[in-house]
């Protein structure tokens, strides 16, 4: 089994994630308050702002749908406190605190549902 795995994924896919790229600059320039996804309380809605980091693992989080302007809701924590169940893009995803920490979101006003209309 290969343990030192060198792969090269398409760097294009990570362009926006890089500092200075679309993800970082857009939200930062607007000076919006963000919090870590791991801090989002169960039952609250938020919108993804950006992901810290440009490692392949971070790209994977983005590929799972954690992209800017994506509505996301924390559903519940596991009985032992970790991982947390999130609802986004029509499905349920579980993330440990370690991964959720790297995602920054901004709160949506009042608690409510993810909008039903498209877009």
């Amino acid at each position: 089994m290969k343990t030192n795995f060198n792969f090269d994924y398409c760097p294009d896919d990570a362009r926006s994630l890089a500092p200075g790229g679309q993800l970082h600059s857009k939200v930062r320039s607007e000076g919006i308050d963000t919090l870590r996804l791991s801090e989002l309380e169960p039952g609250r809605d938020a919108t993804v702002a950006w992901i810290e980091g440009t490692r392949p693992e971070d790209l994977r989080l983005a590929e799972l749908g954690l992209l800017p302007e994506t509505p996301i809701k924390a559903v519940r924590r596991a009985p032992l406190g970790d991982p947390t169940e999130f609802e986004l893009r029509g499905y349920r995803l579980c993330l440990r605190r370690r991964e959720a920490e790297r995602v920054r979101v901004r709160l949506n006003g009042k608690p409510g549902g993810i909008p039903r209309g498209p877009g």
Binding site: E57, L67, Y91, C94, R98, P115
Partner: protein, 632 residues
């Protein structure tokens, strides 16, 4: 790409994320006749089947489920490598079918965009349309076709609806629509592309699945969820032992009858003995576990297809994380409590190759059911049936203690392995919680049958070979016992002078520090094939029947002729029990490890480290118990 006709047989690749219903669709297209193998160099399962579509033969390749074509591990890279025609011996598919769950289209379209970039003839199959509508989702399929530029088909996989339309489509991929513009490569731009497509085609997002929400309120409730979880696990156990037992007894009778028939039909002599006691009994001793294995697979696949497995992993993940593993490893390890074979195969649900390997390597430490006959003999013979507290007896406590020792060792060893030999591969823990669904019985049967068939094939090859070897060791050289010995004791005499007996004597100095003598040595050698064989071997050595008390009395009263000391004193019994907790004595497990890790290196490593552990722990136990006054 030109409009030239595609080769025949046509190779069709199924791509999609896990939980999208890809395998159900694969089964619906190809029936239960899939050919299963491994991709070279990795442990990912390779599944291919065939069908006839429009008079043309089509080979369907069920590629591993993936959320993205950008891999994070060698296993994940298989999908993009196969598509790039970069895997030796595996020709790239000529056309691609992307399978996506209609409910999570917002996420799945990201993958669709990636696949479209490959420029191959592609079509999209939307599954679970029934759930989509039930959840209030509204989608314009024709508009989606236009927007994407490729054919889009809606199916309800487990009911086979829409599959005929797909078969028609498969007959002529040359005529599939192609997108005018390829989707953007950059992820964020691709997300914008997805949003614009959906704004034109998705009229209403599906709300959450009400049934799933209701069930999860209980199942994932901090208190009720944990209780339910514990309850399900206990039920799992009970099922395995209670339901499998009648079937196992039936097989045992069958094997016995086959052996007896062989003795009856063939003239007495070497051939009859070889066939009846070597081959039939040997393979039979493994096949007898088939009911249990089938049951475990059935429960595993049922819970998985229902959607419960992910919840179990979610509940237990934190504890598993402390030892370097993850929630899905728990389910695999739990299965190993019945038998390591399905347990090891269940590790396929673990995406991280390192985690999967570590889980495989510690699986033998879980107290499998083959240990029970050994424990039953030793505990029954040597542990007093005293009550400790009300209905709880000493014997039961010792058994429980052995179970706990196995489980805690598994967790400990995995923590050590993750910190030393096999540190993490950096794969982030992510897990989808699918909606609860009624499992497709056809899929369930095909899954269970596929796994059971693999086990049987192994029993027919490796175990056959080892059974033959063992029979030879136990029966050669043929020695004539003194004619005045009764026949049972003559058998014991013959055993003592066989190769195995001599091997037992030869290793006696090595196992003496553990308190074992040559008879136990022979038993240990025999048990290398399968643990419970030691009971039958000891029975043969002590020339007793291994039912009930005669073997028990025999081992209790056996004394070393030279020293007069008890062979089985407390220290020896304790050491022997501990030895069986740790040692890997199972050909089936080794064979399964070989298959799942695609090499002999890891089974060999497992065998060695467990032998070292067994010896060390056994030695320590013997010393401690002797010091506490347990030696005769």
């Amino acid at each position: 790409m030109s409009e030239a006709a595609l080769p025949s047989p046509l190779r069709l690749g199924l791509v999609g994320s896990p939980n999208a219903g890809k395998t159900t669709l694969f089964n619906a297209l190809t029936g239960m006749r899939a050919k299963v193998a491994n991709y070279p160099g990795v442990t990912v399962e390779r599944r291919e089947g065939a069908l006839d579509a429009g008079g043309r033969r089509v080979v369907v390749i069920d590629l591993p489920g993936t959320y993205s074509l950008n891999p994070l591990s060698p296993d994940e890279s298989i999908v993009s490598e196969v598509l790039d025609d970069a895997v030796p011996g595996v020709r790239a598919p000529d056309a691609l079918v992307v399978v996506a769950d209609a409910c999570s289209l917002e996420r799945s379209l990201l993958l669709v965009g990636q696949v479209l970039q490959r420029g191959r003839p592609t079509c999209l199959v939307l599954t679970m349309i029934d759930e989509f509508s039930a959840r209030g989702g509204r989608l314009d399929r024709a508009r989606l076709e236009n927007a994407l530029g490729i054919a889009v088909i809606e199916v309800i996989g487990h009911r086979g609806l829409g599959v005929d339309r797909l078969r028609e489509l498969i007959a002529s991929p040359e005529r599939w629509g192609r997108p005018v513009l390829l989707p953007p490569g950059d992820l964020v731009e691709r997300a914008n592309w997805v949003r614009s497509i959906l704004s034109h085609t998705l009229h209403l997002r599906p709300t959450q699945h009400r049934l799933t929400e209701a069930i999860d309120r209980v199942v994932l409730h901090p208190l009720w969820g944990s209780l339910l979880f514990a309850g399900v696990m206990v039920w799992f156990f009970q099922l395995i032992f209670a339901w499998a037992t009648p079937a196992m007894a039936w097989i045992e009778r069958g094997v016995g009858a086959a052996a007896a028939a062989t003795h009856a039909w063939l003239p007495p002599g070497l051939l009859a003995d070889f066939l009846a006691d070597g081959l039939i009994a040997g393979v039979g001793s493994v096949v007898i576990f088939l009911p249990q294995i089938v049951l475990v697979f059935l429960v595993l696949y049922l819970l998985e297809d229902l959607g419960y497995m992910a919840r179990a992993a979610f509940v237990v993940d934190r504890v598993m994380g402390r030892v370097g593993l993850e929630g899905r490893a728990f389910v695999a390890l739990l299965s190993s409590y019945a038998c390591a074979v399905p347990g090891i195969m269940a590790t396929r649900t673990i995406p991280s190759p390192q985690d999967r390997l570590v889980t495989i390597l510690v699986s033998p430490l879980m107290t499998c059911s083959a240990r029970l006959p050994v424990y039953a003999l030793l505990i029954g013979a040597f542990v007093p049936a005293a009550a400790v507290w009300g209905p709880i007896g000493l014997q039961g406590l010792v058994l429980l203690g052995l179970y706990l020792l196995g489980a805690s060792s598994a967790l400990l060893v995995s923590a050590v392995l993750k910190r030393t030999l096999l540190p993490g591969d950096g794969l982030p823990f992510t897990m989808e919680l699918p909606s609860y669904r009624m499992p497709s019985w056809r899929l369930l049967v095909s899954q269970v049958w596929g796994s059971a068939r693999a086990f049987l094939r192994r029993a027919g090859t490796i175990i056959l070979g080892v059974s033959v070897l063992l029979w030879i060791l136990l029966n050669f050289p043929r020695v004539e016992a003194p004619s005045d010995l009764p026949s049972a004791q003559a058998a014991s005499y013959a055993l003592e002078h066989s190769l195995a007996g001599r091997l037992g004597r030869a290793i006696e100095p090595a196992i003496a520090p553990l308190g074992f003598d040559w008879k136990i040595g022979v038993g240990l050698i025999a048990s290398l094939a399968a643990r419970e064989v030691i009971v039958a071997t000891l029975a043969q050595i002590y020339a007793a029947s291994d039912q009930g008390s005669s073997l028990r009395t025999a081992v209790r009263s056996d004394r070393d002729p030279r020293t007069g000391k008890l062979v089985f004193d407390a220290a020896t019994v304790a050491a022997l029990l501990v030895f069986f907790v740790f040692a890997l004595q199972c050909m089936s497990t080794l064979a399964t490890m070989r298959r799942e890790t695609n090499s002999w290196r890891w089974p060999a490593f497992a065998f060695c480290y467990l032998l070292v552990l067994a010896y060390g722990a056994s030695f320590a136990t013997h010393r401690i118990v002797s010091a506490l006054g347990g030696a005769a």
